[in-house]
């Protein structure tokens, strides 16, 4: 009986300490920009409700967001984005699963700015592709601010652009990520 009690206590301790190594946010910002030089205006949407979890021990990180959560300044552009381009009723979610490949270079207990390399798989519009990018982690007072920019070739994700506007919309979209991560309590 005593033994079992001890086991439970140890198990609880282990699980709580592994929880302590995870950081998360539910208000991650993902910016989508498909503006080209010949675009008559900015083609830009922002999603402020992305979830992100980073495991500082393994360097694993994960993003998830709802495609319908992208907000565009023009109502028509937002409708086109959802209905014609990313078809968010068919593919409501996008996610990224990856790893910080130089995780050992980051000292999560020490304030500072660290350059990281992130590698993983991005799923959007029902297609999954490898994505690699450089990012930045700023560690300050036990919180992490993570930023990264990368480009995705829309054709890779089978997002087709109608011929009529082909020269007005960029073939590659620039994705910018900004997340303020807080420790996850068990």
């Amino acid at each position: 009986m005593k033994n079992r009690f001890l086991m439970i206590a140890v198990a609880a301790l282990i699980s709580s300490s592994s929880f302590g190594q995870k950081y998360f946010t539910k208000t991650g910002k993902i910016n989508f920009d498909a503006t080209t030089a010949s675009s008559p205006e900015k083609i830009e949407g922002i999603n402020r409700t992305a979830t992100c979890v980073v495991d500082t021990k393994t360097g694993n990180l994960q993003f998830a967001l709802l495609m319908k959560g992208f907000e565009f300044e023009r109502a028509l552009m937002e409708e086109h984005f959802n209905e014609n381009y990313v078809e968010s009723h068919k593919f409501p979610k996008a996610e990224f699963k990856g790893v910080i490949s130089n995780n050992e270079a980051v000292n999560y207990s020490k304030d500072g700015t660290y350059s990281v390399k992130v590698k993983g798989k991005l799923t959007m519009h029902g297609e999954t592709k490898d994505v690699e990018t450089d990012g930045k982690l700023v560690i300050q007072n036990g919180k992490i601010t993570a930023t990264a920019d990368f480009n995705v070739l829309l054709a890779d994700f089978k997002v087709s652009i109608p011929g009529l506007v082909a020269d007005k919309v960029a073939k590659t979209a620039k994705i910018s990520v900004t997340c303020s991560l807080e420790p996850l309590k068990g």
Binding site: K22, F24, K26, T27, K29, R48, T49, T51, V53, A64, L65, L66, K68, G69, E71, E73, R74, A75, L76, E78, H89, P92, K93, S180, L184
Partner: protein
């Protein structure tokens, strides 16, 4: 001869009127801004817990029902977040549960958001963009372009 001229004139005039109307329509449609949610009528009125349960019970059915619809949600404020760019999100739901309704506030209504405190009972109106299921972090229903919508 005179009659023929008249007909041609009418045809040209009507074509011009139609072209003008089309141009105005395209211009308006192109520049259409999002409507202020405060001025829109809610399609559904729900309480936060039932709303979350409906999504966790059958996400697909709930998506079909609520996507892009205007929802009025009543519930308890769990927390109010303000990000570095001044955007508010109000998180409502049962404090004992990790799942919530996350409402991103329309920035033109920031003044009202600033007065909201955790523990308040609140009504919020917003546009539903779906369900973000996550076992570890708790699953959330997401509303965007939200406004505080007190019961009348």
């Amino acid at each position: 001869m005179k009659r023929k001229k008249k007909i041609i004139l009418y045809v040209i005039l009507s074509v011009l009127v139609i072209a003008g109307a089309a141009a105005i329509y395209i211009y308006k449609e192109y520049n259409r801004a999002h409507k202020d949610t405060a001025k829109l009528k809610a399609d559904y009125t729900v309480n936060a817990t039932d709303f979350i349960n409906e999504f966790s019970g059958n996400e697909q059915a709930a998506n079909k029902k609520y996507w892009d619809k205007i929802i009025h949600v009543d519930g308890l404020v769990k927390s109010v977040d303000k990000d570095d760019r001044g955007f508010y999100s109000i998180i409502i739901g049962d404090t004992a549960s990790v799942s919530s309704v996350r409402c991103s506030l329309d920035s033109i209504h920031n003044n009202e958001a600033a007065t909201v405190k955790p523990g308040n009972l609140i009504g919020i109106k917003g546009i539903c963009s779906g369900f973000n299921a996550d076992e570890l972090l708790g699953s959330d229903v997401i509303l965007v372009r939200c406004v505080i919508d007190p019961k009348k």
